[in-house]
C-alpha cells in the first residue's frame, strides 16, 4: 500500500490512459461504423478497428503532440525564464548551469547516477537523456501518425472513389498538416496558460503552483 502511494502519480496516469484509450476505441469504432453503414460499406469488429489505420492515426496524432509539448518545454526552460512563474528557473539561472550545480563529474555525490559520475561522453549523453528520449518519442509518434494517417486518408479516398496519395503527396497534403497543427496549437496554448496563470493563481499543495502566500514576482519557487 505504501509502495502504491509512493507511485501514485504514475499509477493514476497509467490508469487514466488505459481508461481513455478504451473509451476512444468504443467511440471511434462507433463513429467509423456509423459512416461506413451510411455508405453501404463494411463495418469493423473491435479487433479490426483496433488494428486499423484510423485508430492508429487518431492515437498517434495526439501522442506526438503531447511528446512535442513536453520536449519543447523541457528544452526551452533550460534557456528561457518567466518572471513570477513556478514553471521557470530563477531569472539568473538561465542556461545549462555549472557542473557543481548539476552535480556531475567530481561534484557527483555517492547517490548520483553512475553516468553522472563517470564524466566523458556518458555524462554528456546522460545530461541530455530526458530531452533525447522525449525527442525520439515525439519523432516516432509523428512518424507513426504520418504512416497511419496516410493509410487512413487513402482508405477514405477510395471510399469516395478518389485516387490514393503517394508518400510525397501525403507529406504535403492538408490532411497531414491539419492533423499535426491542430494538435500542436492546443499544446502550446496549454503550456502558455500554465506558465502565465501560475504567476497569479495558486493551487494549494501542488508542486506546479507557488505556495498560496508567495508574492506574484517570486520566480522558480514551487509549493
Amino acid at each position: 500500500m505504501r509502495r502504491l502511494r509512493e507511485h501514485g502519480l504514475a499509477v493514476s496516469f497509467t490508469a487514466l490512459l488505459v481508461g481513455a484509450l478504451v473509451g476512444e476505441a468504443f467511440a471511434g469504432r462507433a463513429d467509423y461504423n456509423d459512416q461506413a453503414a451510411d455508405a453501404g460499406l463494411p463495418v469493423l469488429g473491435m479487433l479490426q478497428y483496433l488494428t486499423s489505420a484510423h485508430f492508429a492515426a487518431d492515437v498517434a496524432e495526439n501522442w506526438q503532440s503531447e511528446y512535442l509539448q513536453f520536449t519543447v518545454f523541457i528544452l526551452l526552460t533550460v534557456w528561457l525564464v518567466q518572471r513570477g512563474s513556478p514553471e521557470s528557473k530563477p531569472l539568473d539561472k538561465a542556461g545549462a548551469e555549472s557542473d557543481e550545480e548539476q552535480k556531475v563529474g567530481p561534484h557527483a555525490t555517492r547517490d548520483s547516477p553512475a553516468w553522472a559520475r563517470l564524466g566523458g561522453w556518458r555524462t554528456r549523453v546522460y545530461s541530455h537523456s530526458l530531452g533525447l528520449v522525449m525527442t525520439l518519442f515525439f519523432l516516432g509518434s509523428w512518424l507513426a501518425q504520418f504512416v497511419a494517417g496516410r493509410a487512413a486518408y487513402n482508405a477514405d479516398q477510395l471510399k469516395d472513389l478518389q485516387a490514393p496519395l503517394g508518400w510525397g503527396e501525403y507529406a504535403l497534403a492538408p490532411d497531414f498538416w491539419n492533423r499535426t497543427l491542430q494538435n500542436w496549437q492546443s499544446e502550446f496554448l496549454a503550456v502558455a496558460s500554465m506558465v502565465v496563470l501560475s504567476i497569479y493563481l495558486r493551487e494549494r499543495g501542488s508542486p506546479e503552483s507557488k505556495p498560496v502566500g508567495e508574492p506574484h514576482d517570486s520566480t522558480g519557487v514551487e509549493g
Binding site: G40, L41, N154
Partner: protein
C-alpha cells in the same frame, strides 16, 4: 496478400462481365447492386456496359477494407465484406486531380 485477393475479385468481375454478366452481379457490393437494379435487371445492365474484351490488370492498392484495381481499360473500386472483396464501383475513369473518378457503375 490482400492485394492478391482484391485483384482476384476485380479480375473475376471484369471477366464475368464479358463472359457471364449474371455472375458479375454476385460480385457487386450490396448497395451498388441495389443501385444497378434500379436501372433494370442487373445482368442486362452489366451486359450492356461490358467491354468487348477482358481488360488486363495493371495494379492493385489496398488501404484497410478498401481497394482500387487498375486495368488497362478500366478502373474498379472494391471493399472487403465478411464474405470477401466486392465491387463498389466499376467502369471508372479519372476526372482530374483530387476529383472523384467518374463511374458508370457505383452506389448512390
Amino acid at each position: 496478400m490482400e492485394e492478391g485477393a482484391a485483384g482476384d475479385s476485380a479480375r473475376r468481375f471484369v471477366t464475368a462481365q464479358v463472359q457471364d454478366a449474371a455472375s458479375a452481379c454476385a460480385l457487386l457490393a450490396p448497395k451498388t447492386l441495389q443501385e444497378v437494379e434500379a436501372d433494370g435487371h442487373c445482368a442486362a445492365v452489366l451486359g450492356d456496359g461490358a467491354p468487348a474484351a477482358v481488360p488486363r490488370l495493371e495494379s492493385v492498392e489496398v488501404y484497410g477494407t478498401n481497394a482500387i484495381a487498375r486495368f488497362d481499360a478500366d478502373t474498379v473500386f472494391l471493399a472487403r465484406f465478411r464474405d470477401g472483396w466486392r465491387v463498389t464501383a466499376a467502369h471508372c475513369r479519372p476526372d482530374g486531380p483530387q476529383r472523384p473518378y467518374q463511374c458508370e457503375i457505383q452506389a448512390g
